[in-house]
């Protein structure tokens, strides 16, 4: 049964196939598994994703064909949870926002599938790998296209599961298994907040639903957004807890670095390009709640910024090539989250997209390197690979410049957008801008460090390793090239106004968030004073494009950040390529405690372990299990009472001493008591 509100929007049965095709692929690979020859398995997997990419494009075009105001395609498949007033459908919806995500996910996903054909070609779990990979695409698309918050949650948990499966893909290593488990559990902690947020949302909305409206449908929620005003802050924060899990923000980011235990394509796809951006997507998706909750927005901003700094600093010291990229990812995610916190949802999503391109590129590149180094991941034994792996090197370099925000590469536009918002939004200010600015520099620095250590100088690996070094096969290099191109040009669709462009990207997304502003206005209407501020912020966020007031300033800042980026790059190059004063002073630090703290990631894991995990286990074992269960309940109450009864029994038993005269005596006593009682009564 289709809930009424879907009648108003265009029904597009195409959507379900975008989601289901990968599931089909997963099913085929999963059921047939080894029985399926590798080639076939690969074909099935890539075919499935390829098709759903094509379909996404088609759907995107159809969406684009609609007038900007009504860009929404919906596909309600079936009712899911229907009980009394609670009604949740299995359904998908495509709007400008999800369209962007869909294209990114299926597109990058396809490339990484292809890449994996080569990367995993020798792995005995080939079919299993592609099963999981397809399953992931399915979950991710459910998350992106989900028509309501619960569908999103289904995908949310699904991608979590897939990341668990893929991180611990090589489960022979206890460490990998542990990493996977850690990822899942930490995410669960986030989901806890997400769930509570969902409940609060539902409870608040329920009494205001019109008949047949799906409770958690985004449309419905947006339509009734104003009633959420009183609790928007709480909801926003709770949902954000979920985001901190998925998008690896403080305090739950700890799982992402360990997640590098998975195969590199997985790191690229899940832990860089797509899944980890789910949190950002969710915040953007729920923008209509956040614009009502200035406090929540501030928290989001601060957490984002803090994460960006923290991760960036750590990244400068790591030696494992993938870990550097991991922390870089965390820090970039911080960027995106911060953007959302500032109400600059469009900018956040824009960075999601560009980041997907260049971070995927970087990971795949590192994968290519690791492939060449026969599995070695420590940069200290690398070096001088530039000549041996030319394609990898050049594409990697492109990625590096992109992430460093070099004009006119993709990273520049998205990052600059965020920097500007940090500076100009009511939520932001100079301080915030400086933080973001610092991070930008750090990013450039550690990325160049990585490049130098890996590709520059002479190789420090052992003889036979060095002997095997070779460029990767086409299936791996092709995706690199494509992604390199995207990393270079991908940002141009967001060419900002102050550089004479007309930020298509932001305009494309405008309807989604504009409506948020709208809702905010409505809320300001209902909710009164306190929210006017948030609403205003949203407006500032929503249609900032039209505002040409600070063009000069914008240009200045952009130039500054560009320069700063270049400075960082060159600093990195200087320090790690040849001896100079600067380099020496930098190295001087290396021995000192700041370095050690960074190297050990601020000892956060240790802190969690010592403060929560160990005590928790000890409490459960000694107090609850041995103490309460075995001790009090069973020992004291159950067996205790049984013992008492038994003791009384065996005491009474002693009266039975076999002496007739004693028996007679007790008889007589009984009679006496009876007689006395009667005489008292009578």
């Amino acid at each position: 049964m289709h809930s009424p509100e879907t009648q108003t929007v265009v029904q597009e049965s195409l959507l379900r196939w975008i989601v289901l095709l990968p599931l089909l692929g997963a099913a085929i690979n999963g059921l047939l598994n080894r029985r399926l020859p590798r080639a076939a398995a690969g074909a099935v997997a890539c075919g499935a994703v390829g098709l759903s990419f094509v379909l996404s494009v088609v759907a995107f075009l159809r969406l684009a064909a609609l007038p900007a105001g009504e860009r929404l395609l919906a596909d309600i498949v079936a009712p899911w949870l229907g009980y009394g007033p609670l009604r949740v459908d299995i359904g998908f919806a495509l709007d400008p926002l999800s369209a962007v995500m869909a294209l990114v996910v299926t597109g990058v996903g396809l490339l990484i599938h292809i890449y994996s054909l080569g990367y995993m070609s020798h792995d005995k779990g080939f079919q299993r790998f592609f099963t999981y990979l397809n399953l992931f695409i399915f979950s991710m698309m459910t998350l992106v296209l989900g028509e309501n918050l619960l569908m999103l949650f289904v995908g949310w948990e699904g991608v979590g599961l897939c990341s668990y499966l893929l991180i611990s893909f090589w489960f022979n290593e206890e460490a990998n298994a542990a990493a996977g488990k850690k990822a899942f559990i930490v995410n669960r902690v986030g989901d806890f907040g997400f769930l509570i947020g969902t409940f609060l949302l539902g409870v608040t909305l329920l009494p205001h639903l019109e008949p047949g409206e799906g409770l958690f449908s985004f449309r419905v929620m947006q339509h009734h957004a104003h009633v959420l005003a009183p609790v928007a802050t709480v909801i926003g924060l709770l949902l954000f807890v979920g985001a901190t899990g998925k998008s690896a923000q403080i305090p739950l980011y700890i799982w992402l670095p360990d997640a590098m235990a998975g195969p590199t394509p997985v790191s690229a796809l899940i832990h860089a390009a797509t899944m980890v951006t789910a949190g950002v997507y969710m915040i953007a998706r729920m923008n209509f709640v956040y614009v009502l909750a200035p406090t929540a927005m501030e928290v989001v901003t601060i957490v984002g910024a803090a994460t960006a700094v923290l991760a960036a600093t750590i990244a400068t010291t790591q030696n494992d090539i993938k870990r550097v990229l991991a922390y870089s990812t965390v820090s970039q995610l911080g960027y995106m989250v911060m953007a959302c916190g500032l109400g600059a949802f469009a900018a956040g999503i824009f960075h999601v997209m560009t980041h997907a391109f260049f971070k995927a590129l970087l990971f795949l590149g590192s994968g290519s390197v690791i492939h060449a180094m026969s599995g070695e991941q420590d940069m200290r034994v690398m070096g001088g690979l530039a000549k041996k792996l030319p394609i990898t090197f050049w594409t990697f370099l492109a990625g590096t410049f992109a992430i460093a925000g070099v004009f006119p590469l993709a990273g520049f536009f998205s990052k600059d957008e965020i920097l500007w918002k940090a500076f100009s939004s009511d939520g932001g200010g100079v301080a915030l801008w400086l933080v973001a600015f610092l991070v930008a520099g750090l990013t450039a620095f550690y990325m160049m460090r990585l490049v130098v250590l890996t590709f520059h100088g002479t190789n420090r690996a052992s003889q036979e390793v060095r002997h095997h070094i070779h460029e990767s096969p086409l299936s791996m290099t092709l995706p690199l090239v494509v992604l390199a191109v995207l990393s270079v040009a991908g940002g141009w669709i967001g060419w900002p106004a102050f550089l004479g462009g007309s930020n298509h990207f932001e305009h494309w997304l405008a309807p989604v968030f504009a409506d948020g502003g709208h809702g905010a206005a409505a809320a300001a209407h209902h909710g009164g004073e306190a929210l006017a501020h948030g609403a205003a912020a949203a407006h500032g966020a929503a249609d900032h494009a039209g505002d040409h007031g600070h063009v000069a300033l914008e240009r200045g800042l952009a130039a500054a950040s560009l320069a700063w980026g270049l400075l960082g790059l060159s600093l990195g190059y200087l320090v790690y390529s040849r001896r100079t004063k600067v380099a020496d002073t930098m190295r001087g630090l290396a021995g000192g405690w700041p370095y050690r703290i960074l190297l050990n990631k601020y000892y956060v894991d240790e802190a969690y372990d010592g403060a929560i995990i160990r005590p928790g286990f000890r409490f459960s074992r000694t107090v609850l299990w041995k103490g309460v269960d075995a001790g009090v309940i069973d020992g004291l109450l159950v067996n205790g009472s049984a013992l008492v009864v038994a003791v009384i029994g065996s005491l009474l038993r002693l009266l039975q001493n076999g002496l007739v005269r004693f028996y007679a005596w007790s008889f007589t006593v009984g009679v006496a008591v009876f007689v006395v009682y009667l005489s008292l009564k009578g």
């Binding site: 038994a646 029994g649 007739v660 007790s666 008889f667 009984g670 009679v671 009667l678």
Partner: protein
Amino acid sequence: MNGFVAPSVGGQLDVLLPYLVVAVGGLAIMLVDALVRTRRRDHLPFLTLLVLLGSVLAQLARSGGEEREILAGMMTVGDYARYFNLLFAGCGVLTTVFAGAVLERDGRGRPEFYPLLLFSILGMMVLAAASDLLTVFLGIETMSLAVYVLAGGVRGDVRSSEAGFKYLLLGGFASAFLLMGMALLYGFAGGTAFSDIAGALAAREGDLGLAMLGGGLVLVGFAFKVAIVPFHMWTPDVYDGAPAYVTGFMATAVKAAGFAILVRFAWLMQPQLAFVWYPVLAGLAVVTMTVGNLVALAQSSVKRLLAWSSIAHAGYLMLGVVTLISPATGGSAQMVLGREVGESAGSALLFYLLAYSLMNLAAFGIVASLGSREGEADDIERYAGLSRRRPVAAAVLAVAMLSLAGIPPLVGFMSKFYLFSAVVRAGLVPLAVIGVINSLISVYYYLRLLVVMYMKKPEADGYAGHEPLAVGAAAVLAGLVLLLGVVPDGVHRAALVVFRQMSF
């Protein structure tokens, strides 16, 4: 009252017939045994069964109809008496079967056993019909004297004779109190007939103190027979010492007889004395069931365990008696609610006695059958793995135990259900709660036997006695236990009718 009218037996023969059959049959068997000079004696049980069957037929020949006073009001024969007579006969039959099987096995000739069994049953029958203190006395003594010998008469068995003698001594001691009570009641009423007593109570003439004290002592006498704490001390020892087949008889028939008269007597005294007795009887009931169950927990001998369990059950039954005379019956049985409560309690008691006899006889039958020349199957540990050696016996015993524990759908549960619902209906919820807590405790020791039989590995010296006849009979009982557990209504209705006729 003129007690000098020569009781005309004419026209009462039909009613007296069952009694005569048993009495004459008993004597006849004695003679037969004296005259027939064969070594083998397996014709005796057969004859006994015939006699019992005869009495039963004589019962059924003249069932229904009003209660009738016979022998100048010494006895009142009606459905109440018949109900119990059938019960006694049934117990007698099974005891005969068990005894026959066991005596055959042990090669012990006990020619005196069967006539004595019949005489004790005769005593019981008289007791159940007694409507005069004198007949009560004669009935009790006839029964007891016979049972003393049944219990103690196993020649060359120290335990048996010790049991018999202890029983006799304490029995005599108790009857002294009983008689003293009767004497005082006589002094109060000026006659020994129940009618005299009832009349005197109704007219409130004479010294009620005498009535209370006398009635109390009489109750004590009965309490001794049915093993109410603290008049129970003899029970475990005697049950333990006497051979299992006799113990079974004592635990069922004797107890039933005791309650038969106890109920009748309590109902007789109820109108005026209920309020005085009710609290102390309630106390006795609670103490009895509690002590019985608690001590049973600590038993390692099956017979003693069953002895204590029988004490506990006496407690439950006493609860019924308490309800019967409780204020809820309105002090006067004429009030409608009181009447209903009284009826439900009385019928519950009758049903309970039947149910209890069924399951207990089944249990003792198995115990008896498992023994051997060397001795009886008494050590609980040696029941280990019985379910593998003697599956049928084990199953029957298990059913009996579960039924005694009051697990549905067995008659034990139904009898408890009827009893406790009467108690609750009388508004004595606390007593009911104490009752169920007790039956909860009892579950533990009844289960112990199951655990041993079914869940422990067989021991080398485990009991393996095998008496197809006895086991078969017990199996039939187990079948009845199950049947009456599912469809108890018929019997319960009968009990209701019977009690009505006795009481109103």
